[in-house]
Symmetry: C2
Subunit: 345 residues, 2 copies
């Protein structure tokens, strides 16, 4: 069997990270990369990643060329956060009979906010005989799939709290902007009032994934966004927060079912949290029978986590029936330590 | 759509527990129960469970009658720990075109110790167009599926430690005997020397499930069994350990891959651990990138956990392609809070 052939669209922190991870894996090759950033376009993957392999893969700004040059089994799309933005790209990829995994947060459960587009994506995938999946560390794993999985050993579930205290340091420019890293409180208030601050994208996706998996009907979902100010200068590879500005955002959300809050989401995100004494961790508390109190300390690192989730799901997506899939439709994710081809049915 | 029709074979602590859980669920009915225990045979399910429903379901010692009276979609088999013992029962069920979920620990991954029987079960299932799954809290979830799931957000995995410190108190007579609860140290030594003490059944299943999921080749697996003596009288619903006898067994296991121990299994099990200051918990430590340190405290309760895993997997098993399946082949387990029929494809 030939090596699995992967194209990558978007070669920022996530896309380049996936390429680095794929370099360590057997039975899989990168056959093309699309990115329009002036620092990267025209350079080889080897040059950008500072590695020996893939001198011959030149980063191309034209996706048509990238996907038409060679046979591609699956495209990793790491360009967008929202389904609307990712949609035309997903369509383009799938119309070429290529499977796709995207980091777009809303695509972890597009049924939540874009049910029409979700339906359309499912149809496009089925017409072309391919599969589309959105995943990442969160949404995709920590505050949804892992919650769902833990309820699997429960008879009854009364209440769920999912809390992720994490660091934004590993993430790229897009995330820094979405999370308001480095902006003033004044700017935060202004952008929030104008609805221009994304904050964490994923609560609605996560609570809908959980509710649909368990059979709960959501009556109402509310979320809040509060600034996390820093008193010291904080610097991460792609972000900088001067003392007095925002190191990140604390988001909270409440999901109402049967007239009461059944799911609480708590997610303070910031660059370099340790600089002011915040320790990271992932916490899931599920009341019911039996009660489950889970803690992962420190947090599962978000950057590597998202990269790993996307790469590790490649065989599951290739094996899946065609259509739009979410993490609750597919077998559990797993690290790939052997030859990736051995995992293809 | 008609309610899902369930038969239960084996009405001890596990089988009866599943019946109680099913009583709370919508869209599903118990249509027959087989058990040969003199305390239960001839009685109604209502009488045994002390509930109002199922006055008309009489516990029958003849499985042929139970499975032939009415249409059955799936049979829950809670009679055995070993694949060999469960095999003829699984075959009988599947030859009647009925799906089956079993609590038999070895059946959580029968490929590990009974590859020939596993192959045969897969064939029997396919010929009959049905699915067979073994599951439970452990093996089936805590020391294997959850480990696999957590590696899904990792690029590399170097070493895994899975530790379950649990209570045997919720389990039935069979487990008390397998775990040597209440026997003397002398008897422990004798039975261990003669290979007559099962201890925890599942290490080989769990490490093979993990290794196969990740793509590791096991070179060697070793396990040890040590007595847990009690200095006080301990009593659980189905067990009793007089001071000086065994409250349970501590099992440890090491899985060698590439010349070194890559998986450590640690599993002390006893009745009423709190009586001598042991606090229960489930701990998974995975070294690699990123490292994952998970703790669930207290342990996910074993009795309810096993019952819930079996019942919650019913829709996944009915939906699955025919054949022998394990937990790594199917979508993640989840609590069923709505109508069970809504989960059938």
């Amino acid at each position: 069997m030939d090596n699995i052939k992967i194209a990558i669209w978007g070669f920022g922190a996530m896309g380049a990270g996936m390429a680095k991870m794929l370099l360590q894996k057997r039975g899989v090759d990168i056959v093309g990369v699309c990115d329009v950033h002036p620092d990267r376009i025209g350079k080889s993957v080897a040059e950008v990643l500072k590695v020996d392999k893939y001198n011959d893969i030149i980063i191309n700004g034209d996706i048509e060329t990238v996907l038409s040059n060679k046979k591609v089994d699956l495209c990793l799309l790491a360009t967008d956060s929202f389904t609307k933005g990712a949609f035309p790209k997903l369509k383009l990829i799938m119309d070429k009979k290529i499977n796709v995994i995207t980091t777009a947060e809303e695509m972890a459960y597009p049924q939540a906010q874009e049910p029409e587009l979700a339906k359309e994506l499912d149809e496009i995938a089925k017409v072309n005989g391919v599969t589309v999946l959105g995943t990442g560390i969160n949404p995709g794993m920590i505050m949804d799939l892992l919650v769902v999985c833990l309820t699997g050993c429960m008879e009854t579930v009364e209440y769920i709290e999912a809390k992720r205290v994490n660091s934004l340091s590993p993430f790229g420019i897009t995330v820094m902007e979405e999370q308001g890293v480095g902006i003033t409180l004044e700017e935060f208030n202004k952008r929030q009032a104008q609805g221009e601050l994304a904050g964490h994208v994923g609560f609605k996706e996560s609570v809908n994934m959980i509710s649909d998996a368990l059979g709960w009907k959501i009556e109402k979902f509310e979320q809040q966004m509060k600034p996390i100010s820093t008193t010291v200068n904080r610097k991460s590879p792609y972000g900088f927060a001067k003392a007095g500005t925002l190191a990140g955002i604390n988001m909270t959300g409440q999901c109402y079912i049967d007239g009461e809050v059944k799911i609480d989401m708590i997610h303070p995100q910031q660059i370099e949290p340790e600089m002011e004494g915040t320790h990271t961790g992932d916490y899931i508390t599920i009341k019911g029978n039996p009660q489950v109190n889970m803690a992962i300390t420190p947090e599962v690192e978000g950057g590597i986590g998202t990269i790993a989730m996307c790469v590790n799901m490649i065989p599951h997506v290739i094996n899946a029936k065609s259509g739009l899939k979410t993490m609750i439709d597919l077998p559990v994710p797993r690290a790939i330590l052997g030859d990736m081809r051995d995992l293809i049915d």
